[in-house]
């Protein structure tokens, strides 16, 4: 007689092919579950899925918006993969993004009446520094005091948001803004150049693609990338090999912070053009889903960022054309993550029914 409940046993080897298919399987399962939800809500599932996933990108403007939305997600996710590959759980990218926006945006506000070619590069540089410094705080705490980086990086998100609050309500407030909480607009040369007239997709996309390419090179071709991977798989092996774990933690956090900082700066100097409180719709947190959906691989992350960006856009079209609440978009994001984790479990573990007698 077999026991009623299966027990979970580790597989000796996980299938490489299945590893590749995990994201695709989870997206397909999400679509199926989504259709069931739509049917239960009383909608034609084909029309609903069309409204959700096709209609938002059926125009040039829609495709441009998809890239606008995917740019910060991809950039932060590729940064996060430096940490996650090394089993460092930095979930504070939102704070690092905010700090990047503050540092870079601060330069933009300081030079609000200057038009010069060096302004934007300086802002991008400052954004990277801001994000990296903010990322280094949990790195120092982890290496010096052995604190849990999940907690410290998360809590620093709120600190960063409060600093931004303070700045736009206080010292950086627009003197001509009726004391509303927002800064002066940046000068024209402090804005990300648009790639096409009339569309919002901006130079941040080029920066992102460039950094993704660099990251691919680092992961695949350099010793540093190899060290990240080894110490993630087996910290002990890494130590025997003489890799310095402290240095790795510092680099991973600094790079991730810098990427998130550039993403924040690209957002405020791209579509926004000034600083205010609500600069990011939680890009830093959503990028965690993107990083895992993309299997921490540069190409995977590009596709994953487009898929997740589409769930945001789709939620708006679904509201407009189907009168479905905006929360449906988050349901899709949640489903993707749920199936991803579930499939991952089944690839690395198997269920067995023990014999009781």
């Amino acid at each position: 007689m077999n026991s009623l409940f299966p027990s979970i046993v580790s597989r000796s080897q996980s299938s490489g092919l299945m590893n590749f298919f995990v994201p695709i399987i989870s997206i397909v399962l999400t679509l199926i579950t989504g259709s069931i939800i739509f049917v239960l809500l009383g909608f034609d599932p084909v029309y609903a899925l069309y409204t959700f996933f096709i209609s938002p990108i059926s125009s040039t403007y829609g495709i441009s918006e998809l890239f606008v939305k995917a740019t910060p997600l991809a950039l932060i996710a590729i940064g996060l993969s430096y940490c996650f590959k090394n089993n460092i759980y930095n979930i504070g990218a939102e704070g690092q993004l905010t700090m990047g926006a503050i540092f870079g945006g601060g330069i933009g506000i300081l030079f609000h009446d200057t038009n010069a070619f060096w302004l934007l590069p300086l802002m991008i540089f400052a954004g990277a520094i801001g994000g990296a410094l903010w990322g280094l705080i949990p790195a120092i705490l982890k290496t010096k005091f052995n604190t849990n980086e999940i907690l410290t990086s998360l809590m620093l998100v709120y600190v960063a948001l409060f600093i931004l609050d303070y700045l736009v309500v206080g010292p950086w407030k627009d003197p001509f803004g009726y004391s509303f909480p927002k800064s002066r607009p940046f000068s024209e040369s402090g804005r990300m150049p648009l790639l096409f007239d009339g569309l919002r997709v901006h130079f941040g996309l080029i920066i992102t693609l460039f950094l993704i390419f660099i990251s691919w090179f680092i992961f695949a071709k350099t010793i540093f990338g190899f060290q990240l991977k080894v110490s993630g798989y087996s910290p002990k092996a890494a130590r025997y090999a003489g890799f310095n774990q402290t240095t790795l933690v510092f680099f991973a956090f600094a790079i991730c912070g810098a990427f998130a900082g550039i993403a924040g700066l690209a957002e405020v100097s791209g579509p926004i053009g000034l600083l205010y409180r609500d600069i990011s719709p939680n890009y830093g947190f959503t990028a965690i889903i993107v990083a895992f959906l993309g299997r921490l691989h540069p190409i995977g992350i590009i596709f994953a960022s487009l898929v997740i960006a589409l769930t945001y856009l789709g939620a708006e079209d679904a509201q407009l054309f189907l009168q479905i609440p905006s929360a449906v978009g988050f349901i899709f994001q949640g489903l993707v993550l749920f199936y991803l984790l579930g499939a991952e479990l089944l690839i690395n573990y198997k269920l067995t029914y023990k014999k009781l007698l």
């Binding site: 606008v68 309500v169 206080g170 009726y178 509303f180 205010y276 719709p281 856009l313 509201q319 407009l320």
Partner: protein, 355 residues
């Protein structure tokens, strides 16, 4: 035969096409969900009122939970792209985004709530909520026993500071010992934070809670603690019947119907509307007869009458700022320009406006 039918149907379309014109599409951008029972809820009530008034000549849609960042541009543009003729953006921080989209769609009319910048196709509108604050202040001055008022404020923008001042001026007039404790929560919509702020204020001795945020959480906290509260945006009595004295209700329906009708008739023009109790845009919820003495209710009603006919103005001089300088001389009322940019406390309020 087919040709005749084709001809006839073409003729019919042209002949009656103008009389039975396509309904105008009116879209709304909401900061929160319509179920917040506060700010967004009242805009949605206004939208439904507009529908009921204009019937088949309009259709309406809305996008909810639109963040006040770069996403708002896409949401507004989505309404513009999908053939809407009139678009209401119902939060202050949609200002730049509204103008960004409006300049690309000169034929579409936009209405931006609580903003201060107009364009040929962008009108602004707001309500003189501070008139209601004056009545709340008067009531609070009479009802408090600890002489301590707890005030939950959202952002230090003129609208909120104006409300605090209007409240205090009226309250201190009937009760010179009154003290205001103000907590800035820096959010419009966060039930948890709002309730925390209310509890903190109650622990500090406040026996009346005033809020300039969007949920009924503060009123419920007051009910639990056994103190009084004023609701915000909609009548919140059902959520806290033993605490609720009255609410300031935002009544947008008639304005929305008027503006939509203007679009249907082709008479819409840009402008800035700032209406108050006289036009019915600000309304006090029924005063709580269980908690308030009849004489006080009568005073409040009289005040409403005075505000409506212009004999009472919440900002009548002499008014001093915290430094003791006279800002509104005796016998004069504060001009709208001063009210629109108000970023200082009047004399008697402790603390500073967060700068």
């Amino acid at each position: 035969m087919i040709r005749i039918i084709t001809f006839l149907s073409t003729f019919l379309v042209f002949a009656f096409g103008s009389a039975y014109a396509d309904p105008k599409k009116v879209g709304f951008i909401y900061i929160g969900p319509p179920g917040d029972h506060g700010w967004t809820y009242m805009h949605d009530v206004g939208r439904k009122y507009m529908e009921s008034q204009l019937g088949d000549s309009i259709t309406t849609t809305y996008l909810e939970n639109i963040p006040e960042n770069a996403d708002a541009v896409r949401a507004i543009r989505k309404l513009a792209d999908s053939g809407h003729d009139l678009i209401f953006t119902t939060s202050f921080n949609y200002m730049d985004q509204t103008h960004e989209v409006a300049k690309d769609f000169p034929d579409i009319k936009f209405e931006h709530a609580t903003g201060y910048i107009q364009a040929d196709n962008v009108a602004t509108y707001s309500a003189r909520f501070y008139e209601g604050r004056m009545i709340e202040g008067h009531i609070a001055g009479h009802m408090t026993e600890t002489n301590t008022i707890g005030y939950i404020a959202s952002f230090p923008i003129p609208e909120v500071v104006r409300g605090i001042n209007a409240f205090y001026l009226a309250a201190s007039k009937v009760n010179p010992d009154i003290k205001m404790k103000i907590i800035w929560v820096f959010t419009w919509y966060d039930p948890g934070k709002e309730a925390d702020a209310a509890n903190t204020l109650i622990n500090q001795g406040a026996d009346i809670i005033v809020q300039h945020t969007d949920t009924y959480a503060p009123c419920q906290a007051a009910q639990k603690a056994g103190v009084y509260a004023f609701g915000q945006a909609s009548n919140q009595e059902e959520f806290c019947p033993d605490a609720h004295l009255t609410s300031i209700e935002d009544i947008w329906g008639p304005y929305y119907a008027e503006r939509a009708k203007a679009v249907v008739d082709g008479t819409w023009s840009s402008g800035d509307t700032w209406d108050g109790m006289d036009k019915g845009m600000v309304v006090m919820s029924p005063y709580n007869t269980k908690l308030m003495p009849a004489s006080l209710i009568q005073e409040a009603v009289n005040m409403e009458v005075g505000i409506k006919d212009g004999t009472i103005h919440p900002f009548t001089g002499p008014i001093y700022n915290q430094a003791g300088e006279l800002v509104v001389p005796e016998g004069e009322v504060a001009p709208d320009g001063m009210l629109l940019g108000m970023n200082f406390y009047v004399q008697g309020i402790d603390g500073e406006v967060p700068q």
